[in-house]
């Protein structure tokens, strides 16, 4: 089903959690709300769910204003970060909860049991219905929470940091599994995460948020390859930032003219490039002069940390293992795909 948010704003006391959020989710879409903590992503999810009321703005499901409907009336499935499974109930009872508390059109006890079993089979936990939540692993508990949320036949599935409490390996597995699961069930889903890798890998579209506002909405490729501002560039993926002066179609760093697209920008700017979007140039080439501080082995790549005179932190480079420099060596860094942003944007992002 389709979801539309129009001009949503929310304050907690003096703190503005959300400024003026407008957003659409298409039917069947898997949307990620990505941002650092305090960016308002969880608040937005809770407003979509009806667990929190917006101060201003409207929530539409299928074109219908449901801003003032309660959680129960919205037909959503909500999966909590810590799962929030009912500890004293068995796994099957947890899954059946949504059906067994129905006052109108409650299915017969046997039908409820059958449905709970179906859902457990769906999340591949068919044999564990009689266990208590505490007897399951984190990943299994997460899937029980998912099955429980699906029992009420939601049209919209909302997940708050669904992989947050899991260890790295289980996280990855569950990530793939959830993506496939979403496609199989055919719901519209929205999940909140602070992990850009997770958002890029799982979602159809990523909503990048900071300070209670949306910075960019786009496919994983769009936000990664074409970030609209310095914040998005910096937050979605690794990045290096070099302060430059732009003039006459050139970017200048400490007297050296760099070969980058300035897009008409003039004055102080920040040059952003990803660690893998570089090559090492010859000494005579116009690039960034640097000294290698450390070389570390990574999977398939070499990570080089290089110091540049006049910069506080090191620049990080991802290079192929052959031809990688050794510590102490002087190199010239040639960004092959860099973006120039006016400096004002950086301050905004840093605030």
């Amino acid at each position: 089903m389709s979801l539309k948010l129009a001009n949503i704003a929310k304050r907690f006391g003096a703190f503005t959690a959300l400024h003026d959020i407008s957003l659409r989710a298409r039917p069947g879409e898997f949307l990620a709300l990505l941002g650092p903590s305090g960016s308002g992503k969880t608040t937005l999810l809770r407003i979509i769910a009806g667990l929190e009321a917006p101060e201003r703005g409207t929530v539409y499901y299928e074109g219908e204003d449901i801003t003032h409907l309660s959680v129960a009336e919205r037909r959503i499935g909500f999966v909590f970060q810590q799962y929030a499974l009912f500890k004293h109930m068995t796994v099957a009872e947890n899954v059946a909860f949504g059906l067994s508390v129905r006052r109108r059109e409650r299915p017969a006890r046997r039908a409820i049991k059958r449905r709970a079993q179906e859902l457990l089979d769906l999340v591949q936990l068919g044999g564990l219905g009689k266990r208590l939540p505490a007897q399951l692993s984190g990943g299994q508990q997460q899937r029980v929470a998912l099955a429980r949320a699906l029992a009420v036949d939601p049209q919209l599935l909302l997940l708050d940091e669904p992989f947050g409490a899991l260890d790295a390996k289980v996280r990855k597995e569950l990530r793939h599994w959830l993506r496939e699961f979403h496609d199989q069930v055919g719901l519209t889903s929205i999940f909140v995460t602070h992990d850009q890798e997770e958002a890029l890998e799982v979602a159809d579209r990523v909503v990048v948020m900071s300070n209670g506002a949306i910075e960019q909405v786009g496919t994983p490729s769009e936000v990664y390859d074409n970030p609209v501002n310095a914040f998005v560039f910096d937050f979605v993926g690794e990045s290096n930032c070099v302060p430059v002066i732009a003039a006459d179609g050139h970017a200048v760093f400490r007297g050296r003219i760099l070969d980058v697209e300035t897009a008409g920008l003039r004055g102080a700017g920040a040059l952003y490039f990803r660690p893998h979007d570089v090559r090492l140039g010859a000494a005579a080439e116009l690039g960034l002069p640097a000294t290698v501080a450390a070389v570390r082995r990574r999977e398939g790549r070499i990570r080089v940390e290089a110091g540049i005179v006049g910069l506080p932190g090191p620049i990080e480079l991802d290079l192929l293992p052959d031809g990688a420099p050794s510590p102490g060596e002087a190199i010239t860094i040639m960004p092959t795909n860099a973006r120039l942003f006016p400096v004002a944007t950086i301050h905004e992002a840093a605030a």
Binding site: A72, G77, A84, F86, V152
Partner: protein
């Protein structure tokens, strides 16, 4: 190795002996004394002291008072903790402070407050008299004073636990379509049941044993407004030691039973260790 650990072991024993000696002197000896004194004139006199009409009336009244005030405080305590732990509202910290008031006020003062409010010379006294309602020097006053004194026990057990458990479970239940009552009965209450039982136990022990506040509002009318602790005092003041200790032994037994149940709960469910589940 043995030589090295010997001195430490000696210190250990000394500490243990000190602690055990203290317990024996201040806790065990009085307890034993109660039963020895109670049975000093034989088992027949012990029994007679308990089934004598005034003693029976005191026991009945004590059970009645506990029977009313404990359920009241279960309801109040649950309501207050539910409100404090699961909702945000202005004046919340004031409410938390107020819950502790009965602990910080001397029971005698608590009793006096009720005399001041409901007594013949009190604010509401003339109105109550005109409507023929007696609270002070009657059972309602005793129940009120006891309820006031024992109010914090249930709430104090529940608030920290409910706060720690957070709101996720309740929000999950509501998002699955449960209404407020279903959420409370099927999710919140099972989550706190052992802490609640523990609170009820402590509340009951205090309700039956309360002396100060009850003493002020009761009027000490034998066979009518005397609870067990008050009856013990009267018997004692009349130099009827065996009977006084006989009734006191019942209170001591109640204390022992409460302690035993409390230990059982702690051992079985770890009420205070991990979250009760």
């Amino acid at each position: 190795m043995a030589a090295a650990s010997l001195p430490r072991r000696g210190g250990q024993w000394a500490l243990l002996a000190l602690a055990l000696g203290f317990i024996a002197l201040f806790l065990l000896a009085p307890l034993v004394a109660v039963f020895v004194e109670a049975l000093s004139q034989g088992i027949a006199a012990y029994g007679a002291a308990l089934i004598e009409p005034d003693a029976l009336a005191a026991i009945k009244l004590t059970l009645l008072v506990a029977g009313v005030s404990v359920p009241l405080n279960v309801v109040f305590g649950l309501a207050a903790s539910w409100a404090i732990a699961k909702f945000d509202f202005p004046g919340k910290s004031l409410l938390v402070t107020l819950i502790d008031l009965p602990f910080s006020v001397s029971p005698v003062v608590a009793g006096l407050i009720y005399v001041l409010l409901f007594g013949a010379q009190g604010w509401l006294g003339p109105w109550l008299e005109a409507n023929n309602v007696q609270i002070i020097f009657a059972v309602p006053g005793i129940v009120l004073a006891t309820t006031f004194i024992t109010f914090p026990f249930v709430a104090r057990e529940l608030i920290p636990l409910m706060t720690e458990q957070g709101r996720d479970d309740e929000e999950a239940a509501i998002s699955l379509g449960a209404n407020g009552w279903q959420t409370f009965r099927k999710v919140t209450l099972p989550n706190v049941r052992w802490a609640l039982l523990y609170g009820v136990l402590l509340c009951n022990a205090r309700a039956m044993g309360e002396f100060g506040a009850v003493s002020v509002v009761s009027g000490h009318i034998r066979g009518k407004t005397n609870t067990m602790p008050l009856h013990v005092e009267i018997l004692y003041n009349e130099y009827n030691f065996a009977a006084a200790f006989a009734v006191a032994s019942l209170l001591a037994l109640l204390a022992l039973a409460t302690l035993a149940l409390k230990s059982l709960l702690e051992w079985r469910y770890g009420v205070h260790g991990k979250a009760s589940s």
